[in-house]
């Protein structure tokens, strides 16, 4: 199992590095925020584009995304497993997203939108539109 986990590591690490590079280009202040967020949460998603949700390791990141009304949110599946993005009342519903596939939805009305993966129902997320 140890060998396997090591094998799984390179991909997330690579992503983390690319995000760091991106955030560095966006200015010192942002880097400070990124580092602080990383230190506090141990997470790696603080530097994601603010309207992008990454699907990786069977989870939505960030699990809760807050955006202004009118924002188009894009989900990207980084897993080797297909996933879907389906709002609880089917306001939006993606097809099965294979590795690298994207799905976008434009939120025009303020509110809280809960969604999940209909293939792996334990995967849930939320978009808060202000």
């Amino acid at each position: 199992m140890l060998a396997t986990q090591v094998r799984h590591e390179p991909l997330p690490m690579a992503r983390r590095n690319s995000r760091l590079g991106r955030s560095a280009r966006m200015g010192a202040a942002f880097v400070a925020v990124f580092c602080a967020a990383t230190l506090i949460s141990g997470g790696s998603r603080a530097a994601m584009a603010p309207d992008t949700i990454e699907i990786s390791n069977f989870s939505f990141g960030p699990a809760v995304l807050t955006v202004p009304a009118g924002t188009t949110v894009t989900w990207v599946n980084e897993d080797e497993e297909p996933h879907t993005v389906v709002e609880s009342n089917t306001l939006f519903k993606s097809h099965a997203l294979d590795t690298g596939d994207k799905f976008s939805f434009t939120f025009t009305t303020p509110g809280t939108y809960e969604y999940f993966c209909t293939i792996h129902a334990h995967m849930v997320g939320k978009v808060v539109v202000q």
Binding site: N57, E80, H95
Partner: protein, 311 residues
């Protein structure tokens, strides 16, 4: 079968008295293998010879998957079918416990069927969540659901055993586990109503019918309610797939077993960030893929043997 005993073969004997013994040392936890030094009442060959009735379970062939965990899932399915063809005596039929395809594409179903046909045996399918991706299972049912009732579940009798095929991969609720639904549970209650309690029951479905690991969705939310309708039977064997590894559990007269995949392994519960495909060194892959033979001897519970592709 005996020729495979020294290589990658595990035995799980569904003898009730032994089950109780196993529970004694395993408590109510997961029993990984029931070989562990416990004597078995008879060998596989003897059991098969006694009745001549056996069947095979295969699972999670994921045709269409092409990632590093196994870039050749057609090849490993082909190899599995080759092993089934070599079994003697020949099994009565094959049960496929779902995730036939990776993305439910027509050509993936075609390829899977084409390969599985090579065994020249009847095949009974249930869908996995990968087989019902975008259309709530409609294309799966058009292909495999002929004669099935309701949402595609069905039962049949063979070798003195009542077989029940359940579907627990449709109509998931957010945050939930696999789901059977009230319509299917009512059908199940009616299906077994008139059977004698001494009828051996084999239930097969894709997702485990007990909760192995909730955080990864490895379970079926309303399974307990469904299984309450078969509690009265002396021998109930539940065969599942989904988790690409063997996990076993005994609860009263009900024994639960998940099966290996023919495509790729997955991590043990909680031992990775996520339950995705597990990439192992190429020389280890075939030890983690395989098939299961089930033999029925009169008056005993089904006898299970799991063989790997390395064996």
């Amino acid at each position: 079968m005996s020729r495979q005993n020294d290589k990658g073969l595990e035995l799980a004997v569904m003898n009730r008295r032994r089950m109780l013994k196993c529970m004694g040392w395993a408590g109510t936890g997961i029993v990984w293998t029931m070989v562990g030094g416990v004597p078995r009442p008879f060998g596989l060959g003897e059991a098969a010879a006694a009745t001549g009735f056996s069947f095979v379970q295969i699972s999670d062939s994921h045709i269409g998957f092409d990632k590093p965990a196994n870039p050749n899932v057609k090849g490993t399915l082909q190899e599995t079918i080759g092993k089934i063809g070599a079994l003697s005596p020949a099994p009565a039929f094959i049960l496929h416990t779902g995730d036939i395809t990776h993305l439910a594409k027509p050509e993936q179903f075609d390829q899977a069927e084409q390969i599985i046909k090579g065994a020249k045996l009847d095949v009974r399918y249930v869908p996995g969540e990968h087989d019902v991706l975008d259309d709530n299972g409609q294309s799966y049912l058009q292909r495999f659901g002929k004669g099935a009732t309701g949402g595609g579940w069905y039962s049949f009798d063979s070798g003195g055993v009542h077989f029940i095929a359940l579907i627990n991969v449709l109509n998931f609720k957010p945050g939930g586990l696999g789901n059977l639904g009230q319509e299917q549970i009512a059908w199940l209650a009616d299906d077994v109503k008139s059977l004698s309690a001494s009828t051996p029951i084999v239930i097969f479905a894709h997702m485990p019918l007990w909760t192995i690991y909730q955080d990864w969705g490895w379970g079926t939310g309303d399974a307990a309610e469904a299984l309450s309708h078969v509690n009265r039977f002396g021998s109930v064997t539940v065969l599942n797939g989904h988790i690409h590894q063997i996990v076993q559990k005994v609860e009263g007269n009900i024994t639960f077993q998940t099966a290996r995949s023919t495509a790729y392994p997955q991590p043990e519960a909680g031992k990775a960030k996520a339950p995705g495909p597990l990439t192992v060194p190429a020389d280890q892959l075939k030890q983690m893929l395989g098939l299961r033979s089930v033999t029925l001897a009169e008056g005993t519970h089904p006898l299970l043997s799991d063989a790997t592709l390395a064996g």
